[in-house]
Amino acid sequence: MPQLDLETISRRFGAVTALDGVSLSLRPGEVHALMGENGAGKSTLIRVLAGLDRPDEGRIMLGGEEIPPGQPAAMREAGLRFIHQELHAVKGLSVAENMHLDHPYPRRAGLVNWGALNAAASEALARLGLETIDPRAPMTDLGPGDQMLVRIASTLIADGDRPAWLYVMDEPTAALTSGESERLFTVIGQLIGQGGGVLYVSHRMPEVLRLADRVTVLRDGRHVSTRPLSETGEARIIEEMTGRDLSALFPPRRSDATPGEVVLRVEQLSAGPLEEATFELRAGEVLGVAGIAGSGRGALLRALVGEQSRSDGTVTLDGRTLNGGPKQAWRGGMAYVPRERRSEGLMLRRAIFENVALPHLSGLARLRYFLDHRRQRRVARDLGGQVQLKAASITQACEELSGGNQQKVLFARALAGAPKVLLLDEPTRGVDIGARSELYRLIRELSDAGLAVVMASSDLPELLGLSDRIAIMRDGRLSEFVEAEGLTEAELLSRFYHLSKEEQAA
């Protein structure tokens, strides 16, 4: 296979320069990591490469010949396959059909050959060890992690005489658990072994250090460096990405930790998959919620905010019982950052400030009902500053922001009402390391000032670095609470599984 060259690609969106003369060579047989902060231009570069976006300048060359820009079919023809950053599942279509969205359906006598369609899907799924997923099931029955795996699998479907050789993955592990990620890494190893190449984007440093052969760093749309992994390392990559030294990602805990008043009391709470959760949370405490996928981390948060209607139990916030939906929870001083920022969080086509103000409209209004536009904007601007939001202006539509900055809009929204309890579901998914350290610092500052935080996460360093206590969940139950101080990742992980083994033995 020849190599693919991106030559001085530039792309501007109005006043924003997303890419500024970026050149890159992609070769078969290696994993090329693309690193950069949120908004550095990684996804834009990938969209250009996929033909979904036309560059203002620059060319894409395959073995010395130019590929016409802006034509997804031409890129496919050249053997490229893509996994884009945001999840898109077509409702109403089966897993197999979703996997064939950009492939021709197998046909027989002009009609869809359903057997072959499902067989091709099964085969690709099997390569990722996903035999348990039925290709005929509706896509929307799957959880977000499985949906991502299905999308990854769909790039593996062989189609005829146009072999794929370059797989482009934009944050493929953002929605995956560590076990699921491992399966992906195995497949990446196989692809490389068969002479394929991978362009890999991730904000998770350990993955990059483990997988990459070469690392390219982008900053503010400009190419900073491309080096073999052997000539660079974590510290250097971070320095090049951020221009800062971020050796202390997690801010230190306060030493004089006097426990605060109990602000949240949960008793025997059952809702959907969640069963009989009981715990107390004190002001200033950060409670991590850990567990394998499907253990009920997200369900716990959804039950607390009242999205999942409860079958039993009580939630008491600051002495008041909550028994309504999300509206009452926000009123009572709870704030929620959902896991799926695009489908559950943002009004994508609306301005940043409107998204920030959404749950607080009454509080920001005059005489309760009449809007105070100026105040809304001021609050959004202040909080945008506090979370270090990078945007042209607060009237910009959220769909124009990079993934990490969209997440910061949701943080700004959560903090705008001065909450007492903050619920975070995968708070730094897709957030770059620089912004992540800012968010960590922010969470720590807020908790020092008395905010209680419940944080569900699949990111072990984050759980260990930020939590005071960690609640471990299994099968919808809170099975154990552990002090985070001094715990190691291996110890934490072993607790996820230990319990299951004991149970199996019993």
């Binding site: 999300p326 929620y336 609306r350 959404l358 809007l371 929204r413």
Partner: protein
């Protein structure tokens, strides 16, 4: 850039329509009297389209407004035949509108039927009720109290032209009041912004603590009352009521909202833009009628112009999307 072209393209198109008639009808078109006349002609449509905007910001529709307008007209007229006073009969007709709107709201938001299907069904229901209530007759003449019919013909005098008084029609005043109320509700209250939020992303709105179900339900009350009010205005203007006279309002109102959406920066429904859409349709209708264009040809032309405007804006939007 494209957005600027798109928006000003819309405005330019409207000005072109007005200029066209002004040139072709130099004597009669751009006179204060004709403009006041147009304002009266479009007042009913304005009321229906403005209230339709309230549900359309949530991404919903109300197809039942036309038959609700017919129903409220015949309800008032039937009460007149029973010697009810004008305020009482009008009050009952508006209450019927409120009830119908809330019923639509319940079916759409509590039961969860798609608004297209739900309001298509209530369209038939209201229309049938209008026939039942009126026995299929047109109610007119002495049955309609003079006070009711005179309302539409009256209005404050605002000047003189050609030695006749220029009257600002009462119906126009009603329409202005409705637009003002809807503008305040949608643009200046947190209630209105929450409706926009529901249109922006319903799940996100709910998770951010917006009570989606009651809000959606309540918004349909606006279309119900608006339609009933328009039906009364219509009945007053023609001093009669029959069970089909409001039926044409629904499609035109939705078309006006869509026309208006082509003028807004982000393609959202906005009540002032809707008003501009109504005005374009009204001007077209008035101008073409004055030019003695056959009424069927007129329909073809109006339909084509709507397609053209909305199509142009869709193309512009696609251009904007491509840049992403």
């Amino acid at each position: 850039m494209m957005q600027v072209a798109r928006r000003f393209g819309g405005v330019a198109g409207m000005l072109a329509v007005i200029a066209f008639f002004a040139i072709n009808l130099p004597e009669t078109f751009l006179t204060p009297r004709n403009l006041l006349n147009i304002s009266q002609q479009i007042s009913m449509l304005t009321v229906v389209a403005a209230t339709m905007t309230v549900v359309m910001v949530m991404g919903d529709f109300d197809l039942s407004v036309g038959s609700m307008a017919s129903l409220s007209g015949v309800v008032a007229a039937i009460l007149f035949t029973q010697d009810w006073s004008v305020p009482a009969a009008v009050g009952v007709a508006l209450a019927v509108g409120l009830a119908g709107g809330l019923f639509n709201g319940i079916v759409v938001s509590v039961v969860g039927i798609l608004p297209f299907v739900a309001t298509l069904a209530t369209l038939t229901v209201f229309s049938g009720l209008a026939f039942v209530v009126s026995d299929g007759r047109t109610i007119f003449g002495r049955d309609i109290p003079p006070g009711f019919g005179d309302f539409a013909r009256g209005g404050p005098v605002i000047g003189m032209a050609d030695e006749r008084a220029l009257v600002l029609p009462n119906l126009t005043l009603v329409a202005i009041a409705v637009v003002l109320v809807i503008w305040i509700v949608l643009e200046q209250t947190s209630y209105g912004r929450r409706l926009y939020a529901i249109g922006g992303n319903r799940d996100a709105a709910r998770l951010a603590g917006i009570p989606v179900v009651p809000l959606r339900l309540s918004a349909f009350a606006f279309t119900g009352v608006g339609a009933a009010l328009a039906g009364l205005m219509y009945a007053s203007r023609v001093a009669s009521a029959n069970p089909t006279q409001g039926d044409g309002l629904m499609l035109t109102a939705i078309a006006a909202v869509f026309l208006g959406m082509t003028l807004t920066r982000d393609g959202q429904p906005k009540v002032l833009a809707t008003l501009a859409g109504v005005a374009v349709l009204g001007v077209l209708d008035n101008g073409l009628t004055q030019m003695r264009v056959d009424s069927y040809v007129r329909e073809v032309l109006v339909g084509a112009i709507i397609l053209f405007a909305v199509g142009l804006s869709a193309l512009g939007r696609r251009g904007a999307a491509r840049r992403r």
